[in-house]
Symmetry: C3
Subunit: 210 residues, 3 copies
């Protein structure tokens, strides 16, 4: 990876780790719990992708900087949880940037491993949303990404651009930038306008208990 | 894998994906959430098995058809959830067929990787029930297979037949068919007659609150 | 691994599997559910470590004795759950011993794979606490290790000794023993004196709902 990409990747990991640490603080976890949630939210998506690709040991483990920024996010949240909470708006924007970058870089890694377009999109989205899903499972909640705003779909659109660029033989950097910009724009608009994905028809209109 | 085996495998993936999508619809997840649950339920068992065997990237990722049938199951459930719900009885039978096939094919893969009989049975059962377990964990429920009817035990019996056939040097196809038939028969009888596994003695007879 | 190390490892697996089986019995799971929780609690930490290191198939699968002691723990708990429950104090001590051994052996494996000190500590702690975390996720609880007493931190201290010994070129066995003893001592004192890790400041002093 080029130096600038690594910087982006570390910033994305830091922001995702902040979201994990904040969830841990909300659930009254102790310092270690906050650290685990920070690491999980920041790195699980990439780790699962790398394990599925057979690229072991994954950089999330073997490059100490990923562990370092996760630890930093945990300590910052532990010490200044109320401040982190108040910065929610800028953190949401950074989170959208992290999502865009993770989805596109995940898709590029899967493409480089020779996978088909459907798998490239799948692993791109998984890289983007996997960390947040594990974070929520660890605090015993249904992952927000499964029932929330337009989030994973923004990642999916971004990876689709990457795939289309490859098929049309557009140079990789151009496709990657276009995909990341589209993902970020969709996510930004979703935040501003409250866009949501459609829900299924009522499962059973009368007896909706269970 | 032979062509007919792949057809069976894709049908099993589709049926398991239906169960995931239905669980997602019941929990009021959005379209993406339903898709994730469909993919997880249909493919997680095989993916975990392949990762443990070091067979990466696993076919569940690298063969687009597995992603395709999962997507199809999600869309069908999204559009016709009430219909899928009404077809519960035939879906249960297809599910029993999927379980039989996944357990046997998982055991055969583990055997081909040179694992011992205990591991062959373990990975066979994991292939059969892993998807359903991840589906339930993602909607924050204790996996049904851990507390339900006779389900995993049917898979275990089927894999035991596969192992016994290997030890007795019975031809692989014969052992595989016998194992799948036994698994399906046990599961069918369990559905019809409400067979359940035994539960442990009362943990603490008076204070059973928890 | 030397013969004595394997004996320790199997004892650790057995004790962790007991904790899984006991959790399963408490949640009224059936025999299969108890077996799954026993296997998960006893082996998941090592399995995740091995998958991340690319050491597949992992010994937890390929060596039948790990499956065997997990099965034994499940059957013992199934038959004598009240007795296992009454033996809580000695089991806690054995659990502390298991934690020490798993953390140190996990760290040594990660070091042997050429990982950096931060990753060595991470994988050591993960080996020690991963099984318990999966056990709790499977019964839909927030992992005890994330909100409990000083537990993972004892493992972290032990792995730090292993790393320090490597950096100072102290012979591996000496470092390993020192790390395990420190981990055990910290955990023992934490049990006796109720030591806990610090919690974050109140997240939002007034509106502490959610």
């Amino acid at each position: 990876m080029s130096a600038s990409l690594i910087v982006f990747d570390l910033v994305g990991t830091f922001v995702f780790a902040l979201s994990g640490a904040t969830a841990g603080a909300k659930h009254r976890l102790d310092l270690f719990g906050i650290l685990v949630l920070a690491f999980a939210a920041g790195n699980a998506g990439g780790l699962i992708r790398d394990v599925l690709l057979g690229a072991t040991p994954p950089p999330g483990i073997s490059d100490w900087r990923y562990i370092g920024v996760s630890l930093l996010a945990a300590l910052v949240t532990f010490r200044w949880a109320p401040v982190v909470d108040r910065l929610r708006a800028p953190v949401l924007l950074l989170d959208a940037a992290g999502l865009s970058l993770f989805a596109v870089s995940g898709a590029l890694k899967a493409h480089a491993a020779g996978l088909n377009p459907a798998a490239v999109m799948l692993l791109g989205v998984l890289t983007g949303v996997g960390g947040g899903m594990l974070r929520d499972v660890l605090v015993s909640e249904v992952p927000a990404v499964l029932r929330g705003e337009l989030y994973a779909s923004a990642a999916l659109a971004g990876t689709a651009v990457v795939v289309a660029a490859q098929l049309l033989e557009i140079p990789t950097p151009a496709g990657a930038i276009a995909g990341a910009v589209l993902c970020f724009a969709l996510r930004y608009l979703a935040i501003r306008r409250g866009w949501r994905l459609p829900f299924p028809r009522e499962h059973s209109p009368r007896a909706n208990g269970s």
